[in-house]
């Protein structure tokens, strides 16, 4: 659990750039616009010591106008503080900027997010399927992909 003083300092420093901020079960949550993502993460890494990019994932809200919510989790090993950054993108162009230039771990995690949800990452030139395989059509974790639609690579025996 983070100390209140660290979170307040973070809130004061970042709030002018980022949107509303909340505390959720020990993580500090910011909701950002897509263009603010890379500058905010750069500031978090360089000025506030968030040296670990833990996770990149997305949530699919099919009814909403901005359908996909891309979520990044960061952690500062020195201050032991967690931050969650959330960005919303629309279904017709679900693209955010890649954090590959800032963190090496972004490469694989963005590939997985692209595989599962179809989120594009500008600047990541290797978005080959990582958990799925070449020839798989669709993005399984989207809510409109039926769970049991299999796409076998090998024809079944009779």
């Amino acid at each position: 659990m983070a100390a209140a003083s660290d979170l307040e300092a973070l809130r004061r420093e970042l709030v002018p750039a980022a949107g509303p901020a909340t505390l959720s079960h020990g993580s500090f949550v910011f909701v950002l616009a897509p263009r603010e993502l890379v500058p905010t993460v750069r500031r978090l890494r360089d000025e506030f010591g968030f040296d670990l990019l833990l996770d990149v994932t997305a949530v699919d809200w099919p009814g909403a106008v901005l359908r996909f919510e891309v979520v990044h989790h960061l952690y500062s090993t020195a201050h032991k503080v967690r931050v969650r950054l959330k960005t919303r993108v629309a279904a017709d162009d679900p693209t955010v900027d890649s954090l590959g230039a800032l963190y090496g771990s972004a490469a694989f995690m963005e590939r997985e997010c692209h595989d599962m949800y179809g989120i594009g990452f500008r600047g990541n030139f290797d978005l080959r399927p990582i958990l799925l395989y070449e020839g798989f059509v669709g993005h399984p974790l989207r809510k409109d992909y039926p769970k049991q639609r299999e796409q076998p690579l090998v024809p079944y025996r009779d």
């Binding site: 799925l132 395989y133 992909y145 769970k147 299999e150 796409q151 025996r157």
Partner: protein, 180 residues
């Protein structure tokens, strides 16, 4: 006539001994004995190819080590080249991404070969009824023995190996020609 050459009367009259039914019976007797011998040799010298993917690997390691040792059954030495193995043990879930690899390994194995589906994921897909998992390896390769369990206890695996050994002992082993 001296004592060493004792004429042996034929067991059957000549007309009967050369008839097709009797010749087949004699041939069958010979084939059965040969099959028993070769079956005995093959069942006690299984070279497993552990096609290991998931959690069942933990029980595979346990069944290969003490106290459940597969070496007692002759099935200890794994061969990681399909050309040298005769028992393909598919241990764990096979996904659709892995399926071409499994088929390739199975096709590379030489006859005689047997397949053991180790674990319920290999037998029928387990509880992964979704887009990613192959619902049982018998959809792509023929399976000889299914060992269900998630993961199966080592005693179940040994039971599976013993049942496979019974199957090998009672099956035909054509070695010289297609039928003999």
């Amino acid at each position: 006539m001296d004592a060493r050459t004792i004429p042996i009367a034929p067991l059957l009259p000549a007309a009967v001994a050369t008839s097709p039914r009797v010749k087949d019976a004699a041939f069958e007797y010979l084939t059965t004995r040969k099959d028993e011998l070769i079956g005995w040799a093959r069942k006690f010298s299984l070279f497993p190819y552990p096609f290991v993917t998931a959690c069942c690997a933990m029980e595979f390691m346990a069944v290969s080590a003490s106290p459940y040792d597969t070496d007692r059954f002759g099935a200890a030495l794994p061969r990681f080249s399909p050309r040298q193995a005769d028992l393909l043990m598919v241990v764990g879930t096979v996904t659709h991404k892995q399926a071409p690899v499994l088929l390739k390994v199975w096709e590379q194995m030489c006859e005689p070969k047997w397949v053991m589906a180790f674990g319920v994921c290999a037998s029928s897909g387990g509880f992964y009824q979704n887009y990613a998992a192959l619902q049982g390896i018998d959809k792509i390769i023929p399976v000889d023995v299914y060992v269900p369990g998630c993961p199966p206890r080592p005693e179940m695996v040994i039971d599976g190996i013993m049942q496979l050994q019974d199957k090998i002992a009672h099956s035909r082993h054509p070695v010289i020609t297609d039928t003999f």
